[in-house]
Every structure is written in C-alpha cells, then in structure tokens.
Amino acid sequence: MGEVEEEQKQHYQIDLGNLFAFNPHHNFPSVPPSREELVKECLEQGTKLVQAVADALFSLPSVEDRDGPLVKLPAPTIRLPREKPLPKPRPPTKWEVFAKKKGIQNHKKDKLVFDEQTGTWKRRHGFDRVNDDKDIPIIEAKMTDEPGVDPFAKRRSEKKQRVEKQERHRLHNLKEAAKVGALPSHVQLAATAIPITGTQAAPRKVSKEELQNVAGMAATATASGGKFDKKLPGEKPQKHEKKYRKFLPVVEGSGMGSLERQQTDKVLSKLMSKNSHEILNVEKAVNMYNVKREKKRRNQPGKSSSTSSKLKPKNPHNKTSKKGSSFKGKSKKGSSFKGKSK
C-alpha cells in the first residue's frame, strides 16, 4: 500500500445501514476479452468495496453476545419507498373527549374485588362475579316505586339499555375513525340489508326463484317471445302463467252444441253489459250489502238491538225486489228484441 495507491483510492458511497457500497468511479474502458477475466475483475472490485464496508462496520462499538459481537447499525441512508401507506392516528372517542374535558384520569382496576355479601374475593368480570344480578335475593321497595312494576325486570331492562347505548357509541366511534381512514386493522365495517329507519329503502335481496325468472322475463322482449333462445345448461323452460287462446275445432264433432253460437253469445253479452248502464247485477249487490251489514253488526259490541236487526232486513229486500223486477223486465225486453233482429 504505497502513497500512490492511497491517492488513487477514491471515495466509495457507503451506506452502513444497508451494508451497501457503491463505487461510482469505475468504468470498463474496453470490454474484457473473456468472461473469466470479467468475472475476476468484478470480484476484485467487489472485494475492495466489501472491505471498505467491513472497515467501517468493525470500527463501530460492539457488545459481546454469546453468538458473536453485536454491533448497533446506524439507520440506512438510501431511502426506499414504503409498501403500505402511513397509518393515520385515530380520532379520540366520545369518552376520551369527555374525560379530557372533565380531567378524569383512567385508573387501573384490580381483577379481584372483595365481595361483602359472601365475604370472599371474587373476580370483577366473568363467571361467579361480584355484584351479579342473579345473586340479589331481595330488592326492598322504595316510596317512589310504582305498584305493579317488577324491580328485577326493571334492572334487567336498564342493563340492556346501557349495553345498547354502549354499542351505539362504539359504532359511532368506529364510523368516525373510518371517515378519517384510521379504522383499527382488525375491524371491518360492513353494510347489511336491515334498514334502520323508513327513510332509506333497504336493497331487497333477490331470491333464487326471482333470479331464475329474470332471464325468462328479458327473453319475452324478443320477436319470438323467447321460445327459440339458446338455453344454458340447468336453465328451466319459461313458465307461461297467462291464459292460452282457445280456438274452435275446425270440424264440429257430434254431441257438442253449436260452439260458435256460444262464443258469439258470450261476446255479445259482454258488450251489452259494458254499454248499458241500467243493468245491475242483482245478486252481487245483495251479497255485498249483506256482508257489509254483518261486519258492522259484529264490530259493534251488542249495541245494535234486536229492533234494528228486525227493521233492517225488511227494507233492503223491498228495495231490491222492486229494482230487480223493473230491470229484469227491461233486460228481457232487450234480449227478446235482439233475438228478433237476428
């Protein structure tokens, strides 16, 4: 190691934290003729660099351990990108804000508490705990208590309310944290299908049958009504829930009345009933009225006396009979007239 060599030794960039050494001043003036020479040259240079790092490394203060000397490495200088974003600090919870405002300190509680009732040390939470609701045999009545109120049930309902309140606050705190993006890693907030209030309609879960029908429903929009569509394996044929058109047989068999006449009669009567306003379906009107009356009578608790019940049935019969006769006469007339015209 002469003076000349020391001068030529240029500085390498050394990063101790990464055990990294970089020689920026070396370059290959010409490509080495053979591979072995290249490898040799590289290993030589590599050795120098590693030696430089080792020099710096071994000069650090070391602590003797059973496996070997331990050295405290400095932080790496070459900065490499993170793999995940920085965790955000979570916002204080409702209780934390309140405690800070009031100056409430959080004191550690013991796991075992002395129970006066039994005179033993019992655990604070869990099986066989202090102040358990089921251990209370008697609750003394106070002057403020209402008669007829079960104090045990009252205690239970109060506890349930407290637990629900706590859950609501917990959910609120988690939602606040999720807004900022600081949700604790093991918690996931998921939206379920149960609606809270009537303001927002819950997304209805589609049933299996509905899903099976959807493709069929869409197919009816095609020109042939989805009859000749290629079906996937496992897809059931579309159900036809409406009526099929009925066509008369070409040749009328023996024993059947004139079907054509029946069909035309049906059409006629439908037309007539739609256009003439006077015709009243007598039976239907009577039935409706009677049903209404029965319902009314049942709903009113025994107020409607026998007299009213006696009176009422008389009148409607009178009315309807009058109407029926008059209209029946008219309808008969109409039909007879029509028959003649044929």
């Binding site: 990464n18 590289c42 995940k84 996931q188």
Partner: protein, 314 residues
C-alpha cells in the same frame, strides 16, 4: 345499517394485524410468478431467486396468461395476488421470441403497481454449477453486503432504477443490531456497459488480519447472470412522494437543554449572563450628598426649617 366485523379467533386477528400498515416497516415479501411461456433458464432463475429469499417469498407455479405488466389492463392479476399474499415485490418471468428470458421486477405501493423494471437474462450460471467449500455456503436469511461498481449506476436513469430495485429485492429486514459473525454473503453488480449489468452472488470468507477488521475474501457461490435492461417504468411523482413519506414522530427534534432525572424530574439549566460587578454605578446615598440636600432645602423651603428649629429649642 352498518355491522362491525371482527375476526373471531385470536389467530385470525394476529394475521390481520401483521398485514396492517406500520409506522416503521420491515421485511417486504416477494411473489414469484410465471408467465405464459417460460424457458428452462428462466425456470431455474426463478427457483434460485426463491431459494435465496426462502423466508419471505411465495412462489406460484402455474402459468398466468393474463399478466402483461407494461400494459394498462394487464396488471390487475398481479395486484390481486399481491393483495392476497401480502407481497409488495413481484418477480415475473416470461419467455417470448421478441423478449427471450424476460424478467420483470415490480414493486407495489398499497397493492397497486408502483414501478417496474424489465431485464433480460443472459449467460446464466446456476448455483449448482459452482463448486466450493461447503462451509462457506451462506445461510438463509443472513443480511447481505451489496457492492455496486460502475459509473453507469450513477449516470444512467435505467441503471439507477435497477440499482434501487435490486437493493430493495435482496435487502431483507432492516435491523439495528447486527451479529458480525453472521456475515456471509455479498451481491456484486457491475455495470459492464450502458445496458448490461453483471450480477453475481458470492459467499464471504473472513480471514485473520493484523487488525480487528478481518480480511474479506469473495468466493462465487450462487447464481451469476448478465442482466440486460430492456424497459422500465418510473413511479409517478405524486405516488413517489407519498411512498417516501416518513412518520412525523420520527423526525422530531430533540429538545435542547432539557434532561429528565428520576428523582428530580425535568431538569434544565439556566444560563446567567456575566454580571459586571465593578462597573455598575452605585445609588446616590453618600453622606456628603445629604448636606447638599439640606442646603438646597434651606434655600427653598424656610417654614419647615424654622419649625424644626423651634422643636429643637422646645
């Protein structure tokens, strides 16, 4: 309605917490994937990289036809795998006529592609082909040395990027305490020309020398190959800025002049300026001055003076 979902078992909770983002990060995991077609050379390369990083690497053996790292839509599969295995480094090997023995090293940030480097592999020599003394074989998981040689690594953009990526890939965990007896491997990279890097993995032999520092000797152990840089994609500026952020707690400056004592609590020193005792003028209270005052008063206020005299006489 929102529902709170937490893992039901302690084991699941621990696994989820392991994957949560931390302030100081350690140990990036590597995922090794195969492309549509891989050559024999490439298969060996991928296997050897997996062996070098056995502790924190995951190797998938199936072909993935739909991964095209440099195309805009072809990265979704990689990102999905990265999310599922919690790996932020991906090594993807494929072979085609246009790009023979192609290796793409990708880094992810928040399970999205951060940057990519594509290299071709030439003159590959496998670990098996090297013969050496078995005692020198490096242990799995030991912290490696890095030696980068060549001005290309400083001047050329692609080689600078490759240097950063190789460092990230083979670094292992960042530790504060290092056992000097466990140093046994070096990665040597030499920039042979403007686009070719000679990469090799060597074992270390520490020989006794005169001083505390042992003499290093490199013995070629592991795979050696020529990396030909083909394409690369640098990270976007905004993303890079976000990924390089350090937690503000770590950059807090130490308070000066404050020290904490167990008994007395917080102690600070008060530094008094130099008191110049001799130069400070004294107050006007010398006895000689009193006479002058008396005379001045005599001139001004006679009544008081007479009253005083009367008293004395009385």
């Amino acid at each position: 309605m929102l529902q709170i979902r937490t893992p039901k078992t302690g084991r699941a909770k621990r696994e989820v917490e392991k994957r949560a983002p931390k302030i100081v990060e350690t140990g990036k995991k590597t995922l090794i994937l195969h492309g549509t077609k891989t050559s024999q050379v490439l298969n060996t390369v991928l296997t050897e990289i997996y062996h070098l990083k056995k502790d924190n690497a995951v190797k998938y053996t199936r072909r993935n036809d739909n991964i095209r790292p440099f195309e805009s839509g072809g990265e979704t599969s990689m990102e999905f795998y990265s999310l599922k295995t919690d790996c932020s480094l991906i090594v993807f090997g494929s072979h085609s006529k246009k790009r023979p023995d192609n290796l793409v090293i990708a880094r992810t940030y928040d399970h999205h592609i951060y940057d990519l480097v594509e290299v071709g592999i030439e003159n590959f020599k496998s670990m098996v082909s090297f013969s050496y003394d078995k005692k020198l074989a490096p242990q799995i998981g030991s912290k490696p040395f890095f030696a980068f040689i060549g001005e290309g690594f400083e001047n050329l953009e692609e080689l600078k990027h490759l240097k950063e990526v190789l460092l990230d890939l083979f670094r292992g965990e960042v530790v504060t305490n290092l056992n000097l007896a466990g140093l046994d491997r070096v990665y040597v990279c030499t920039a042979v020309s403007s686009n070719r890097v000679f990469f090799t993995h060597c074992g270390l032999r520490l020989k006794k020398s005169g001083s505390v520092v042992p003499r290093m000797e490199l013995v070629e152990v592991g795979p050696s190959m020529d990396l030909v840089v083909r394409r690369h994609r640098l990270p976007e500026d905004g993303l890079k800025k976000e990924a390089m952020k350090i937690a503000p707690e770590l950059t807090k400056k130490k308070e000066k002049n404050v020290s904490k004592d167990a008994i007395e609590g917080k102690i600070g020193k008060i530094y008094m300026p130099d008191q110049q005792v001799g130069i400070v003028p004294l107050p006007n209270k010398a006895k000689g001055v009193k006479r002058e005052r008396r005379e001045a008063k005599m001139k001004g206020d006679t009544k008081k003076h007479e009253a005083k005299k009367q008293k004395l006489e009385a």
